[in-house]
Symmetry: C2
């Protein structure tokens, strides 16, 4: 354990040195300083209006794609050392959070990229969630958890309930998580109920955009109803319950729907006006701003448009490299500004 | 970090005191001592034949149900202290592992029960997986992960790849995990490929046994084919690829199928003889030994029958309390022996 303690002390020193104070903030940030919990659907409306964009920046950090400044730092220049790699990934994500938190309504943190480093990565995940919360941006934990009964309840506690246990009480869990609804209502309600109790939300994965998803999700009954539409019905029944609905008419139960299928989009949007829809695939995955507009209601709300790689690795793009040289942070800021401008114009926010 | 270091030292001392040496074993066990990886499907055949039972003991530890001996121990008698609660849960699971490892082919560890304690619980989960591996029993990580593309690949690394990174190299990941196949082949193949590379396996969740699962999973097309049957087809296509098949004819890609639906069971068993089927629901959830026999092939292989609560909380049952009084360990051992006897007779192992 001495090694562990040394590593953390060393980490803390590094972060202080580069003016980020990541570990320090992690240890001192507290829920008590945050605004009182309100309805998640209402908070999203306020955030989208305030930032004038539905853009969600997704954090999918891969060590090998991190900026040279971080990868070459003497304390973090070894992708095969778990401590160094996690420090690098966490440092990068923390700096991205500070760059984008004022510009977008929400960030999405992809759990898989942290679970890769086992529990040490999971600790970094929760630290980043807590840090993002302290910056006042809504945080979506992309965890895609799904199970039934008591197990679903425990997953919902792990990922949506702010812990009260001694030793973990300074940790804040995400404002919302993604949920896999394969088991139907029994697998969704435990998450939705925890979200309700905590002033948080869930996004049930209804339609993916990968090529093979259609085999299962477009599987159709005799009337041509597709499986994802049936799942949307199940989610919609839960979402429209009055106790889950905020003052602005939005539920704290939403959907994840891939952005590359225009017909699916339009139909789901019209049928479930009360649901926020989280749309992956803007940017690198090929969905355009026009595709994303289809997810908005007439009030311009209801859509959250996620972009991950095209924002956080903007410094790999020639257009930004030409403009900002090796300043990777300026590249990211510009990529957010460009995406915001495009979405703002398309939606009229 | 001093507090953290102290807690671990204290924990270590406690475990040594009670002759379990959990933390000590965790730090000294190593992959190098384990047999060379073989095919997961073959290993299951050998294990079921050797133990003469398909029983899988599921670890779903809930603090409030732990034996009084553990809950009342001065170092672990506070469910609201994360450190004490995790120590209690890990101690209990470790002792159960030592009781059952010689009697069953596999154990299943349910990730949700550990994720509840955030990264500290995840550390305990991996420690228990490593400990179980060192006891020579097959370990199934019940994680129900599911996503697409690169994200699925990362989840498969986190949960199936034995880490080579410095700092995590003594950790062994499970022999197999449960996977959510909602996204179709794109969401299954990354897990199956990692399993193949590591001599491990996956069980894709095809049919749940909860009441609402049917709304989605029994959703039928014009020919009466149900969604879970379509998903089984997708899984079956992947499973039967020759590179995934062992010497005994079994694939390292299997299914999770609830034990309470006899027709579904029989049809799936006949159609996919090459797949191991993990059957939850024996015992507390109502599936009988006769229900479970339907999951076996003619060679008596192919079924793994999971029982969690009715084994690990056997000391709550009057029948065992009468016989063994407060000796909770004897109750668990007897419950395993009873379940094994019942399954052995039903299957003829």
């Amino acid at each position: 354990m001495c090694l562990e303690a040394d590593r953390n002390l060393r980490t803390k020193a590094y972060f202080v040195d580069v003016q980020v104070c990541f570990v320090f903030l992690k240890r001192t940030s507290s829920r008590k300083e945050l605004p009182v919990a309100s309805h998640f659907g209402d908070r999203l409306c306020v955030a989208v209006e305030k930032k004038r964009t539905p853009l969600v920046v997704g954090l999918d950090p891969v060590y090998d794609r991190l900026p040279a400044e971080i990868r070459e730092h003497p304390e973090m220049n070894d992708s095969e050392d778990a401590g160094a790699a996690i420090d690098a990934v966490a440092t990068f994500c923390n700096r991205v959070l500070h760059l984008v938190a004022g510009k977008v309504p929400a960030v999405k943190i992809n759990s898989a990229y942290f679970e890769k480093y086992l529990w040490e990565g999971v600790e970094a995940y929760y630290a980043l969630v807590s840090e993002a919360e302290s910056l006042g941006v809504e945080v979506i934990g992309d965890v895609k958890r799904g199970d039934i009964g008591h197990t679903a309840g425990l997953y919902s506690q792990a990922h949506l309930q702010n812990p009260i246990m001694t030793g973990l009480e300074d940790i804040i869990t995400p404002d919302a998580i993604t949920v896999n609804g394969f088991a139907g209502a029994d697998g969704i309600v435990p998450f939705a109920d925890t979200a309700n109790a905590e002033g948080k939300g869930v996004f049930v994965w209804v339609r993916a955009s990968n090529p093979s998803a259609g085999v299962i999700q477009d599987f159709a009954d005799a009337d041509g109803v597709k499986m994802y539409e049936k799942l949307a019905e199940v989610v919609g029944e839960i979402a429209k319950q009055s106790e889950r609905t905020g003052e602005r008419g939005y539920s704290n139960v939403g959907m994840v729907v891939g952005g590359t299928s225009p017909e699916a989009t339009t139909a789901l949007r019209e049928k479930y006006p009360e649901m926020w829809i989280l749309v992956p695939g803007y940017g690198s995955q090929g969905a355009t701003a026009a595709d994303c507009v289809r997810f908005c209601n007439k009030d311009k709300m209801g859509a959250l448009v996620n972009s991950s790689r095209s924002i956080i690795y903007a410094y790999d793009k020639p257009e930004y490299q030409e403009k900002f040289g090796g300043d990777w942070e300026k590249c990211i800021v510009q990529a957010v500004d460009d995406a915001n401008a495009e979405l703002r114009e398309a939606i009229g926010l």
